[in-house]
């Protein structure tokens, strides 16, 4: 003799909490609510024009002083899309050699001024071949002996 009990079924839905993460026990990670998973990207700031920016390493200490404090061995981003303005630190080709100096305008003439007071400013005249190659936008120095220090090689030329 079997007795069948017919039970009432609840006719309204039961809401369940859905968890995105596997839950060993407990609650979903509160960090998952923050949908923004992007990291801060340094190269976006340093390289707004990657196709016309060149990285260069500085040799020498002619700019090692206020306000730029570019030390020997520092890494620079040189942007060629920008128009050089007085006050910019620029890379210039003077008589077939590159140099890093601050471009300044004094009494109608342009000067290439070293930030290290031990060096002399240089007046740009028509006679020498001088060409402003690009504008230095950022300088990266390394305060530990890390990867930037390993990349100086002896020239074979």
């Amino acid at each position: 003799m079997c007795i069948v009990d017919i039970l009432d079924i609840a006719r309204h839905p039961v809401w369940l909490i859905e968890c995105d993460t596997p839950v060993p026990a407990g609650f979903p990670s509160p960090a998952d609510n923050n949908q923004n998973r992007q990291r801060v990207d340094l190269s976006k700031i340093l390289l707004p024009h990657p196709d016309c920016t060149y990285l260069a390493r500085v040799k020498g200490n002619s700019m090692d002083g206020p306000p730029s404090h570019i030390h020997d061995g520092a890494l620079m981003a040189v942007d060629c899309a920008l128009k050089p303005q007085p006050g910019n630190v620029v890379v210039a080709a003077v008589d077939g050699d590159f140099t890093v100096k601050r471009l300044e305008k004094r009494d109608g003439f342009y000067w290439l001024v070293p930030d290290n007071p031990q060096y002399e400013p240089f007046k740009i005249t028509e006679s020498e071949q001088t060409q402003i190659w690009g504008v230095v936008t950022h300088v990266i120095t390394e305060l530990i002996s890390g990867k930037l220090h390993d990349h100086v090689r002896s020239r074979r030329l």
Binding site: H49, C52, A56, R57, K59, A81, F98, T99, K147, L157
Partner: protein
């Protein structure tokens, strides 16, 4: 309207970017293995150094005039080319990268904006110069062939200031009269001689021919199109590439050896290495190939009589892009070509019959390669991933003699004694100032 932008003496210009001391002095760049001159500055051209001349033939000239000589630094040239092309792609809706140093720009729909094409072209030249320090010339015309011709004139004549625009019929005919017939894009040396023998000396003479004549004497429809293009009726469209790389119709990897080789194993090492490289290029553009050609060459300037090169070709049963398959075929071809006792200076592998991946020509008697070896494509994908992550040739077929990250340099590898640093692509050789 089309514009053709072309970098002047591209390899030399790249060397000058980071070496201002090279301005206004004669400079040449050599091919692989420092064999022949492949790029010359204007000053070097003026000394009479011809394109493609072997270095040893012009050594006295070079020493006498203190010509600056460089090995080819392809890492640098590739990066500078990419920088130029990226800028060009940002100024017009469509760009076709035609080679490492030239690109066609599609100016369609820009006519209202370009009231003066001349000043647009000068702006492009100025910007490329400022951003990359590479000098360029621009030719603008209603067809690609005429744009090429305009560019030729812009390069030849200093007075045009690097820009020639052929926007009227009168100017087009004037330009056609200035250009020798063999300089027309697509004519070449062989047809040039043939045309001159028929009394057609300039591009204008060729443009004056009828279409029927061109069809008969200049290789059918190709010749007819060439003549129509010269007459200002466009037949060739722009072929812009989706990802900025040009899908090629054939892929080659050829090198002269650093030293002469005669042992079969040494040649096989070289040929297998070149095949692997060609297969990599093939996969990079997602194509497959079913025709493979191998050639080996002796020293042109040595004691042996011609022929200097021997080549053999094989048609594969089905198109493939798998390195082991292609190396196996190349090896079979080399066995046919190699003769004991001869000294070889050069070898090359050419892949033809390219098909887009996933559109294969089926074979009647063979199953598809991917059916026969379902793992092959996955293996090749992994191989390319490993090599892009850990450096070129990190994983390779064992027969390929290449300079891997570890191990001795391959016997065929050339000396690049005069190579400038890879200033933009390598941390170790980064540009230094001061």
């Amino acid at each position: 309207m089309f514009a053709l932008v072309d970098c002047n003496n591209f390899y030399v210009s790249c060397e000058r970017v980071f070496q201002p001391r090279l301005a206004n002095v004669p400079v040449v760049v050599l091919s692989n293995n420092d064999g022949c001159v492949v790029s010359r500055s204007a000053e070097a051209k003026a000394l009479g150094i011809r394109m493609g001349v072997p270095l040893f033939q012009v050594r006295p000239l070079i020493e006498q005039h203190k010509v600056q000589v460089f090995s080819s630094n392809y890492a640098l040239y590739g990066d500078m080319s990419y920088r130029v092309m990226s800028y060009l792609a940002s100024v017009v809706p469509e760009v076709e990268i035609y080679s490492i140093d030239e690109a066609f720009l599609g100016l369609h729909g820009m006519e209202r904006y370009l009231i003066q094409p001349e000043s647009f072209a000068q702006k492009v030249r100025k910007q490329v110069m400022r951003r990359t320090h590479i000098p360029t010339c621009v030719g603008i015309a209603p067809t690609k062939t005429l744009a090429k011709l305009a560019n030729y004139l812009a390069k030849k004549t200093v007075a045009f200031n690097g820009v020639v625009v052929l926007d009227s019929v009168e100017r087009q005919w004037w330009a056609l009269r200035q250009v020798p017939v063999e300089e027309v894009w697509g004519v070449g040396r062989q047809y040039g001689q043939k045309l001159r023998a028929m009394g057609l000396n300039t591009a204008a003479d060729l443009a004056g021919c009828s279409e029927a004549w061109a069809r008969k004497h200049m290789g059918g429809v190709v010749g007819a199109r060439l003549v129509r293009e010269l007459q200002g009726k466009p037949c060739h469209q722009l072929h812009p590439s989706e990802d900025g790389t040009l899908a090629r119709k054939s892929i080659a990897c050829t090198r002269s050896f650093g030293r002469p080789l005669s042992k079969f194993d040494d040649l096989l090492g070289a040929v297998a290495a070149f095949t692997s490289r060609a297969a990599e290029k093939l996969r990079a553009q997602d194509s497959t190939a079913y025709i493979i050609t191998v050639f080996i060459g002796q020293n042109r300037f040595g004691p042996t009589p011609p022929p200097y090169t021997h080549s053999a070709q094989i048609t594969l049963p089905a198109a493939t892009n798998s390195t082991p398959d292609l190396v196996r075929a190349a090896r079979a071809l080399l066995v046919r070509l190699w003769q004991p006792g001869l000294v070889y200076k050069k070898a090359g592998v050419i892949l033809d019959g390219l098909e887009g991946h996933g559109q294969p020509q089926l074979s009647l008697f063979e199953q598809l390669p991917e059916v026969q070896r379902p793992q092959s494509a996955a293996l090749m994908r992994k191989l390319d991933q490993l090599n892009s992550r850990f450096g070129p040739n990190c994983v390779r077929v064992a027969t390929a003699a290449v300079a891997g990250p570890k191990g001795t340099p391959a016997p065929w590898l050339g000396q690049k004694r005069l190579c400038s640093p890879e200033r933009t692509t390598s941390w170790h050789e980064l540009w230094e100032i001061g």
